[in-house]
């Protein structure tokens, strides 16, 4: 419980759900800006359902399709997720099946696609797509995309852990839940007074030798 408790404290501080959404939106917007791309989108892995979920889009794309699910190990995104290898395709229209698949999640048929896995430590969290960049792709750009995906994955992993911990606490009748809530409030305006109070409580409750 102690690790979850610590994470729950973080979750309380971060307001995880809202921050998660904002972070995903920021990831696709920055990715689009870095590569002067027409659009960027991100799919995250839903481990329980074993599916990829369309989570955010920047630039040209259909926001109404957010929440759409695709298989986790087929198609281009599935291949990138499973193999952990980034992939660039320059004339996607020549692959009618995938062009249609991508079009369904973006609202238009892109010519070019860069797809990179979001990896943090052992985990594959999802894939990041950059659609229709302005210039010819180079290896340098691929490295840049890899670095950016890495940074995004670290942030996403942190927030996802906080979300999971919040979910655990929401379902739990554990006495630690109340404690976690109290602990999360220590970062607030009354933090000093709260810490003194908890210190006094600890003193009273600690078994005497």
């Amino acid at each position: 419980m102690s690790e979850d408790l610590r994470a729950a404290v973080a979750a309380g501080v971060l307001g995880a759900e809202e921050e998660h959404r904002a972070l995903l939106q920021s990831v696709v917007e920055v990715a689009r800006a870095i590569f002067s791309a027409r659009a960027s989108s991100v799919f995250l892995l839903d481990e329980e359902a074993d599916e990829l979920v369309f989570e955010a889009v920047a630039g040209e794309g259909a926001e109404s399709l957010i929440g759409q699910r695709i298989p986790s190990s087929t198609g281009i995104a599935g291949w990138v997720l499973v193999t952990r290898q980034p992939l660039v395709i320059d004339d996607l229209a020549n692959d009618p099946r995938h062009a249609r698949d991508v079009a369904e999640s973006t609202g238009y048929v892109p010519h070019g696609l860069m797809c990179v896995p979001l990896l943090h430590e052992e985990k594959a969290l999802g894939v990041l797509n950059v659609l229709d960049r302005a210039s010819q792709f180079t290896l340098e750009e691929m490295e840049l995309l890899g670095l950016f995906a890495n940074q995004s994955a670290i942030a996403l992993d942190l927030l996802q852990r906080a979300r999971r911990a919040q979910a655990v606490l929401a379902e739990s009748g554990d006495p630690a839940e109340a404690l976690a809530r109290v602990a999360s409030l220590l970062e607030g305006d009354n933090g000093d007074a709260g810490r003194k109070l908890l210190g006094a409580l600890e003193d009273v409750l600690r078994p005497r030798m």
């Binding site: 320059d90 996607l92 594959a124 490295e143």
Partner: protein
């Protein structure tokens, strides 16, 4: 060459003549010696990937196509592949190998399609099966970040190496720890930007060993079509094709010797002549 098998663990005293190599190496090793006139004839190449589209004009006939299914308890079943390619990537790799080594024999082991959660066991099961089949070359444009698989992958890579199967794997160009490309028994491949399919370079800064063509490559894709693609995963089958060419002419080479030939014929070492 001696008719006696080579000693496995140590060389008996005075038996140096038993260790003669089955082929005489030239003082100056050239690409002409390495693979001149070779078509990779009869060299068995395994593409461990998303499957291969049957009858693709840039790939031609396949020796065999199997799919790896993950059953309950992570048990593995190998069956004839009825679905072909679930992405296009395996077909692309097969086409690259075919273009370089037109007379090699290509087989497909599809490890994709088991969902993400089944992908680790499928990768291990597929690789184990491929190593057991004794392929000459196994092309693996895949990697895993799961540490729990690292030990078994390492054992499989070593087993392949000692059985004279060359495991050619894509290096990761992202800042993560992944396998099996990092193992020294594997021939690991990154990309260069040149357009020549036979241009490759030795990397003096490990762990990536060789750089091959991986940028803006025209490849076979689904529905008999073609695409232009970029990635280390396309550099890898270039090295696999070149391995098939060398083995087509020098079948007896061990993976160590093959790596030595590739080193000596690399563009930045002495190759290209």
């Amino acid at each position: 060459m001696s008719s006696r098998p080579l000693p496995a663990w140590s060389m008996p005293a005075g038996r140096g003549e038993d260790l003669q190599l089955p082929v005489e190496w030239p003082a100056q090793l050239t690409r002409e010696w390495a693979w001149g006139d070779s078509t990779g004839k009869d060299i068995r190449v395994c593409i461990l990937d998303s499957g291969i589209e049957p009858g693709h004009p840039l790939v031609g006939e396949l020796d065999e196509a199997v799919a790896v299914t993950v059953l309950e308890g992570d048990e593995i079943e190998i069956t004839e592949d009825q679905e072909g390619d679930l992405c296009g990537h395996g077909t692309a790799c097969a086409g690259i190998v075919r273009a370089l080594a037109p007379e090699c024999r290509i087989s497909s082991v599809r490890v994709l399609g088991a969902g993400f959660t089944g992908s680790g066991p499928a990768l291990l099961g597929g690789l184990r099966w491929a190593v057991e089949q004794g392929f000459d070359v196994i092309n693996m444009s895949l990697s895993t970040t799961k540490r729990q698989f690292a030990g078994i992958l390492h054992e499989l890579a070593d087993t392949a190496y000692f059985r004279k199967t060359v495991l050619v794997a894509s290096a990761h160009n992202m800042p993560v720890e992944s396998y099996p490309w990092r193992f020294s028994s594997v021939l690991s491949v990154g990309s260069h930007e040149e357009p020549e399919p036979l241009a490759y370079y030795y990397n003096p800064n490990p762990p990536v060993e060789f750089f091959a063509r991986g940028v803006d490559v025209e490849v076979a894709w689904l529905a008999g079509g073609k695409l232009r693609v970029t990635g280390n995963s396309f550099a890898t089958p270039h090295m696999s094709g070149i391995c098939a060419l060398v083995l087509g002419k020098h079948r007896e080479l061990t993976p160590f010797q093959l790596k030595s030939v590739l080193y000596l014929t690399a563009g930045n070492v002495g190759g290209g002549r």
